[in-house]
């Protein structure tokens, strides 16, 4: 503790793209350590806590939300230049989030259906993860992110080591906490086996299937899980809907969604798309 004063405070900024702000609020969940964090990190920009804005530079920039508008696409390039370390925070920033569901549909048709004056709405055809626009140094997953993992990233930057974030399926957290498998024992569809851990297996502990908000884990064999769910008597649209959630635009999940006919409720483009899972649809 004696060393605190000796260390310069790192400049940390939080910025948001298209997002609900739930991830940045997670920082406030570190209640017990907030003061200690504020002693060690200078929060130069934190929209949910203060109206103060910073022009940078940032030692650590936490980016929340998907890139969804032309302004955001321009901003993120500028922000990257000001940040030593850029961390995408949450399912939207890392995978496009729930708003990426629109990527499957004809954007103009949706705008016309929803808004009286669609010409006032400036948005891109697709909501995309930050990593499709700039280099991302680290990704935090989840909807919302885990406060523990956020803390771990901040600590690892401050201490100068790698963040210790386990690469494993949600199943490991389920079994460690002693939750009986909802899929095997109750037939509840669950993305836990193909989803990165970090949430503490929250949903299954309430007898809900995992909906994959932490995104595909390494080597996620989403195809096999989808096959099993379909073989269990589910219709294709139900399988597609399961994977077309908060991280449905991620590679492995997107492939399953495409293979099972796309997410339900899509307004197709007038010109047929290739079956390979839409397009990256920037601009």
């Amino acid at each position: 503790m004696a060393t605190v004063a000796a260390r310069p405070r790192l400049r940390v900024g939080i910025v948001k793209m298209a997002s609900c702000d739930g991830c940045q609020l997670t920082l406030l969940d570190l209640e017990d350590e907030l003061l200690a964090i504020a002693e060690r990190f200078e929060l130069v920009e934190f929209p949910e806590a203060s109206s103060a804005r910073s022009a940078g530079p940032y030692d650590v920039l936490l980016v929340e939300g998907a890139v969804s508008t032309p302004d955001q696409a321009a901003d993120i390039l500028e922000l990257r230049r000001k940040a030593k370390l850029l961390v995408s925070v949450g399912a939207c920033a890392s995978y496009g989030g729930i708003q990426a569901l629109r990527n499957w549909s004809d954007h103009d048709a949706i705008r016309a259906a929803v808004y009286a004056h669609p010409e006032y709405v400036e948005s891109l055809n697709a909501a995309t993860p930050v990593s499709e626009h700039v280099k991302v140094d680290a990704e935090l997953h989840g909807c919302p992110i885990s406060p523990d993992q956020l803390r771990e990233v901040l600590v690892s930057v401050a201490v100068g080591r790698r963040p210790q974030i386990r690469e494993e399926a949600v199943c490991l957290e389920c079994k460690r906490r002693g939750t009986v498998c909802v899929m095997v024992a109750e037939g509840i569809p669950c993305l836990g086996p193909v989803t990165q851990s970090g949430c503490g297996a929250l949903c299954p502990s309430f007898r809900r299937g995992c909906f994959g908000c932490f995104g595909p884990r390494e080597q996620a064999n989403a195809t096999s899980l989808a096959r099993t769910l379909a073989a269990d008597g589910r219709e294709d649209p139900d399988v597609a809907r399961l994977f077309a959630g908060f991280t449905g635009w991620s590679g492995p999940f997107r492939a399953v969604v495409a293979a099972y006919g796309g997410p339900p409720g899509v307004i197709p483009y007038a010109v047929p798309e290739s079956a390979e899972g839409g397009r990256d649809g920037r601009g």
Binding site: Q164, R166, C171, V180, A185
Partner: protein, 680 residues
């Protein structure tokens, strides 16, 4: 190393000071010697006594749709009238409506959760300036009593005892937890479809490692003690001597369960069979289904792997270390600075399965599997290790599912071209061509497979592949007609057309750990040469190897230099015979069976591979059978007219078989009445 017999699962090795004792023997207690009978209404007394002794009782309870293990405070919490249905990837509770409390098969949780908990604090590390310190976390486990431990789980405890306490290093945390635990076992009176303790030799009857064991009857429990602690408990319980009828019914109900399970995983030779399959394509096929989610390892009562995690304060000056369950299916498990040694799911599955059923034996002297079936039921995609083991390492007597590389140009009309590298005359009418520029599928072919070989203007001919080189294959061809004559008339740099590799192969992996007998005549040695190459390349995997080779004259022997080289090795017995001798021939003269019909070896542990004219094979088979080889361990090849080579043209149909597709290598048992029958 051959594991031919079921391994005994020794009970807890009982390090000094442990409460758990050696195998059960009738122990005198109070007014007599067991077995005793405990009325159903008095089961609660047992739980109360354990709790009075300051123990936390861990027993079966229904939680979230499964019979799992949890702290049990009263007999009312036991799963009365609850059973289960388990199939691969699926578990469901069943309400029976009776009062029986142990009539279910094992659920997802085993005592491992308490003896080897998912998270255990290890130490707190501190840095103060330049000084560092590590303070070990205290080990102060609760005194436990496990209620309802099954025979498979007792075996699993014994296995983990060896891992953690077998030395040279021991796990103090495990030791403390285990030493303090009392075990009340229950003999199984039901089994799930996923159970296979009978194959692993661990159940369904508890054979040691417990303090008490119960067998449930409708009216109560037959009890035996396995330790002084157990006998002491019985002395405090309202029991009476079990009568003969109760003992008989208890024995019958357990015996019935054993019969229900059968022997789904034949373990004879499994260690060697499995280790012979490191390069099998089957691992990739499993990986198409496997999620590498690690559920199998977590529900496994013997899997013991873990990782250490740190959580530090904001300055990195104080950090807490924990040991957490981790398994060979996770990404970080085999990772070093440069990457993971087992990056592919197939590598991880292979690691797990070969450890459970082979390398565990090398390390700890038993299989790492007790047959509880949890990994089958709790696999989200329902992978059944029993089926995988049968496919990947089939036992003697089973027909292996052929795994073949996709042949080149499989359609009859299409031939890939290849180039003759060298030509080597073997005898007056037999020539070996070495072929280069072949498709890699040929190089990955299996011993005994053949190629369809064509030159324009001649009908294609099936030719056995007589050697798989690094980037060439050999074709040994007898000038039997115009097409073969045309082919062996070609020279180096000439091209030929090839399709293949086609057909079945010699099941070399099944011969591992066994004696090998190869009997052949004339050009029949050609398809067996790759088998010999393969055996010699891994000679230590096989027991004795004998080659009996007959030819018309000494000049008709193929590969004469190689025959000499094989004989000179000393670990391959090569015996040659000719129909007609020559002045310089000093060996025996006669038919090939003369070489071994007087021999002293027996065929009890042998596999035989036979290739030659059908008449010669008939005589050979007869002699082999008289030496004790059953028809499922004698492999022969059939020769028939082949045109397409892939079972489409009908020429080679024999009985229910297409020789090209279902053969040319057959187990004799497959052929039944076809073999040797005239006019087939």
């Amino acid at each position: 190393m051959v594991i031919d017999e079921r391994l005994p699962y020794a009970p807890y090795p009982a390090p000094a000071g442990t409460a758990v004792a050696a195998p059960p023997a009738p122990i005198a207690s109070g007014g007599g010697v067991g077995p005793w009978f405990l009325a159903r209404a008095n089961l609660g007394v047992l739980i109360d006594l354990l709790r009075e002794d300051g123990r936390t009782v861990i027993g079966p309870a229904v939680v979230d749709g499964a019979v799992t293990l949890a702290e049990v405070r009263s007999v009312d919490e036991l799963p009365a009238g609850v059973g289960d249905e388990q199939v691969p990837g699926r578990y469901r509770l069943v309400q029976r409506g009776d009062r029986r409390v142990f009539d279910f098969a094992v659920g997802p949780t085993s005592p491992k959760r308490w003896t080897f908990p998912p998270v255990v604090p290890l130490n707190v590390g501190r840095r103060d300036g330049r000084a560092v310190s590590f303070e070990p976390s205290p080990i102060d486990p609760p005194r436990l009593a496990f209620l309802g431990v099954r025979a498979c789980e007792l075996a699993a405890l014994g296995i983990q005892d060896r891992v953690f306490l077998g030395g040279p290093y021991t796990d103090e945390d495990y030791h403390a937890r285990r030493r303090n635990a009392l075990v009340v076992a229950v003999n199984c009176t039901t089994a799930a479809s996923t159970c296979f303790c009978t194959s692993m030799g661990t159940g369904p009857e508890a054979r040691g490692g417990y303090d008490l064991v119960l067998t449930e009857l409708d009216e109560g429990f037959v009890i035996r003690a396995g330790s002084p602690d157990g006998a002491d408990l019985v002395a405090r319980m309202p029991v009476r001597g079990a009568d003969a009828g109760q003992m008989l019914r208890a024995a019958e109900s357990v015996g019935k369960v054993a019969a229900m399970m059968g022997d789904p995983v034949p373990t004879a030779g499994l260690h060697d069979r499995l280790l012979a399959q490191f390069d099998s394509q089957h691992w990739s096929r499993i990986a198409e289904r496997c999620l590498s989610c690690a559920n199998c390892t977590m529900v496994c009562p013997t899997c013991f792997c873990s990782s250490v995690t740190q959580r530090s304060d904001l300055d990195g000056d104080v950090s807490t270390s924990e040991r957490v369950w981790d398994f060979c299916f996770t990404a970080g498990f085999a990772k070093v600075a440069g990457g993971s040694f087992r990056s592919r799911p197939r590598d991880r599955y292979r690691q797990w399965l070969t450890h459970k059923f082979a390398t565990w034996v090398d390390q700890f002297g038993t299989f790492g599997c007790v047959g509880c079936g949890r990994c089958i039921a709790w696999c989200p995609v329902g992978i059944d290790i029993r089926a995988e083991l049968l496919s990947i390492a089939p036992p003697l007597g089973a027909r292996p599912e052929p795994v073949r590389p996709k042949p080149v140009a499989a359609t009859p009309g299409f031939y890939a071209t290849a180039r003759i590298v060298s030509v080597r005359p073997e005898t007056a009418d037999v020539t070996t061509l070495t072929i280069g520029d072949v498709d890699p599928a040929f190089l990955a072919g299996e011993f005994g497979q053949f190629a369809m070989v064509a030159v324009p203007a001649f009908p294609p001919v099936p030719i056995s592949i007589s050697r798989f080189g690094r980037d060439t294959i050999d074709l040994t061809i007898r000038a039997a007609g115009p097409a073969t004559a045309a082919i062996i008339g070609l020279g180096p740099r000439d091209e030929i057309g090839v399709r293949g590799p086609l057909g079945t192969s010699w099941p070399i992996e099944r011969a591992m750990g066994h004696d090998v007998v190869i009997v052949t005549g004339g050009i029949g040695l050609a398809p067996l040469r790759p088998l010999l190459d393969g055996i010699i390349a891994r000679r230590d995997r096989f027991e004795t190897v004998r080659l009996f080779y007959g030819a018309r004259t000494p000049a008709d022997q193929l590969y004469r230099e190689e025959l000499r080289a094989w004989a000179a090795r000393g670990d391959v017995e090569v015996e040659l015979i000719v129909d007609r001798g020559t002045p310089d021939w000093t060996g025996p003269v006669g038919v090939v069976t003369h070489l071994f019909d007087q021999a002293t070896w027996d065929g009890e542990h042998a596999l035989a591979f036979v290739c030659g004219p059908e008449r010669m094979m008939e005589a050979t088979v007869e002699t082999l059978e008289s030496r004790g080889l059953p028809p499922d361990r004698i492999f022969v090849t059939l020769e028939r007219h082949m045109e397409c080579g892939i079972g489409l043209c009908g020429h080679c149909q024999t009985g229910g078989l297409f020789v090209c597709r279902d053969g040319p290598v057959f187990a004799l048992s497959q052929l039944g009445g076809i073999f040797g029958r005239e006019g087939m």
